[in-house]
């Protein structure tokens, strides 16, 4: 066994993912350096970090998105490597370049893979070249509105306008006819410019009744590329996932299809010389034909469900891969899956309008069934501000079969007690009892079509209030 030098790793992120990364760093016996900013001095992820470093500023542009300042911090604190988490600078080519120039390891794929896959147009071309099916559409960023309309006509409506540098469901819009394209072209361009610093837009065919299916990839610097099976993330609102599961219930028992989509993902990762954890996203139509959407060159929010069914620690492997270490995985056949895992994203938002609802967590307790994992950043006193993503935790349950995972999830949702803060827990409860979800044949249109949000019970329950007030009184009495 080789001894590995203790490395100093900066976590350029916050919230639950920073906690998750810090735990992995601790486990590997490296030193984790956490960041706190002026608008979040009591950041909960610091609890798991060895060192706490202040990043001055109150806006994300001044802090988590500030490349020069983060590089400066790295130099000052003698950082060997940076883990970007997801969001923020996780897929920013300039950040990777800046780290490279300063001799700091980026815990993620190499610069080439990031820049190629980070650009939706280039990634699509590359996928095409590698023989991977892609959604019909513009090969490149569309320069003008007229061009966008022309392409839309060629491929047929509905079409999707999509930011070249986008991700996370922002900077995209569905257009059903020419008028929509006219209306949205500039708006989406502006959105893209402000969110990603790149106004370039793609036009592509919009697949009806689609399933969002993605394949987890893990590769090392020695040329090994493995897949860890697929996830289905079709329960979405505003193109953002809220429930994910692994394996995909839509693929179900179709092992040939499963192998096909997973190997397609591996082929793409090989074609771009991928060397870290990543996700290849596909859209699958009713006919089970799938098309490459994009590759996310980072760890994803929903990685825990893959960890649960395969038993692999993706964050640990990602760190090992970045340092050129062995992943300890002999071959693809060695990776097996068992059981079924579901993740519900717990967001500080109105369960009906699904709009962010900042607030203060006045109480927080959990009563979970066996087989529950909760990656979160919650604590009593947490102030959820509009500065950051409203997601405050990820509730994951695993069962031997899907029905068991769902049963455990229902129990886990009942046992997730958060007071003071509006969350989407009531919505998750409705979905987990909803027939289309239980059947496992739901598309990305599920929320729109079945509107589970309309079935959230909002009736005021006096008994519920008494219980809470009794707790307050008991606390006042010093019970």
């Amino acid at each position: 066994m080789t001894t590995i030098k203790k490395k100093r790793i900066l976590i350029a992120n916050r919230g639950e993912i920073a906690t998750r990364i810090a735990k992995a760093i601790k486990e590997l016996n490296h030193t984790s350096v956490g960041i706190w900013t002026d608008n979040e001095p009591s950041a909960a992820h610091l609890e798991f970090c060895h060192e706490w470093v202040r990043l001055e500023g109150t806006t994300n542009a001044e802090t988590y998105l500030n490349i020069p300042k983060i590089i400066e911090l790295c130099k000052k604190h003698k950082i060997d490597a940076v883990h970007p988490g997801y969001g923020f600078l996780s897929e920013n080519g300039n950040f990777v370049k800046a780290l490279d120039e300063n001799g700091i390891i980026f815990i993620g794929p190499n610069t080439k893979a990031t820049s190629q896959m980070g650009d939706k147009a280039i990634s699509k071309q590359l996928a095409k070249k590698a023989g991977i099916p892609t959604v019909p559409g513009s090969a490149d960023a569309v320069p003008t509105l007229d061009e966008a309309i022309k392409i839309s006509k060629e491929i047929g409506y509905p079409v999707m306008l999509k930011a070249v540098a986008g991700g996370g469901g922002r900077g995209m819009r569905v257009c059903h006819h020419e008028e929509d394209v006219r209306k949205n072209f500039e708006v989406v361009g502006r959105e893209a410019q402000s969110a990603f610093g790149n106004a370039g837009l793609l036009v592509e065919k919009f697949i009806l009744n689609p399933h969002h299916i993605e394949v987890q990839i893990l590769a090392d610097k020695k040329g090994n590329v493995f897949h860890f099976f697929e996830r289905e993330c079709s329960v979405q609102r505003r193109n953002q996932k809220i429930i994910e599961e692994a394996p995909s219930p839509f693929i179900g028992e179709d092992e040939a299809l499963r192998t096909n989509i997973c190997e397609t993902a591996v082929n793409l990762a090989r074609a771009v010389g991928y060397d870290s954890a990543g996700t290849v996203e596909f859209i699958m139509g009713e006919d089970k034909k799938f098309y490459f959407l994009e590759m996310n060159t980072r760890i994803q929010v929903e990685h825990p469900i893959t960890e649960e069914i395969t038993g692999v620690d993706l964050i640990v492997c990602m760190i090992q891969a970045a340092f050129g270490e062995d992943l300890g995985i002999p071959n693809q056949q060695w990776i097996r899956r068992s059981g079924h895992a579901i993740e519900c994203r717990i967001c500080a938002e109105d369960p009906i309008t699904m709009l962010p609802a900042p607030g203060l967590v006045t109480g927080f307790e959990t009563v979970f069934p066996q087989g529950t994992r909760f990656d979160h950043c919650l604590f009593r006193g947490l102030k959820v501000t509009p500065d950051f993503d409203p997601m405050v935790g990820k509730l994951v349950t695993k069962g031997i079969i899907r029905e068991v995972a769902m049963r455990k999830m229902r129990a886990a949702l009942d046992g997730l007690l958060i007071e003071g803060l509006k969350t989407n827990i009531p919505l998750h409860k409705v979905i987990l009892k909803d027939e289309p979800f239980i059947r496992g044949n739901y598309t990305t249109k599920y929320i729109e079509e079945y509107r589970p949000q309309d079935r959230v019970n909002v009736e005021l329950q006096p008994d519920g209030i008494y219980k809470i007030l009794a707790g307050v009184e008991a606390r006042q009495m010093g019970l």
Partner: protein, 170 residues
Amino acid sequence: MRYYLIDADKNELIVDLSSTKIHNADLVEYKFSTLKENKEIHASTVFVRKLAGMYYSSFDGISWAKLARQEIPTKMLNVNKVYDLYRGFKPSGLAGTGAGEMVTQMPGKIVKIQTKIGDKVSKGQTLVILEAMKMENEIKCGIDGVVKAIHVNVGQALEQGVLMLEVGKP
């Protein structure tokens, strides 16, 4: 002790804690009722029990559910609606009383007056401590302003509806 829950549309819900019975160091019984236009529309008895440092609640003393322990919160949530929560006092300016007029919501004895005439005070600031039902209640100011008049003294026993203090615009 009375609780006032007021939503963004100024709909209000009054919850009365009519009795508190301490069974032992780890078990307390509370009687609550909900009032609408001064009429009781719902009532229940709730038990709270401390177990392994956690709070559990029960309606029958047999089946128990864990509670997320809270200090006195200023907000209370019901699924998609957040209520402002006032314990023991109704904020001035609501339901008829003139802004800044602090009126006793229950009979009690003045324990402390934490302000004097002419003081600049802000919304939410505790101005008076009133002992009622064997509990000290912080009477908070409902608006930002200046203390114009104090009508009560420390030690004085008051009936419900007595004007204690007036806060007005500077």
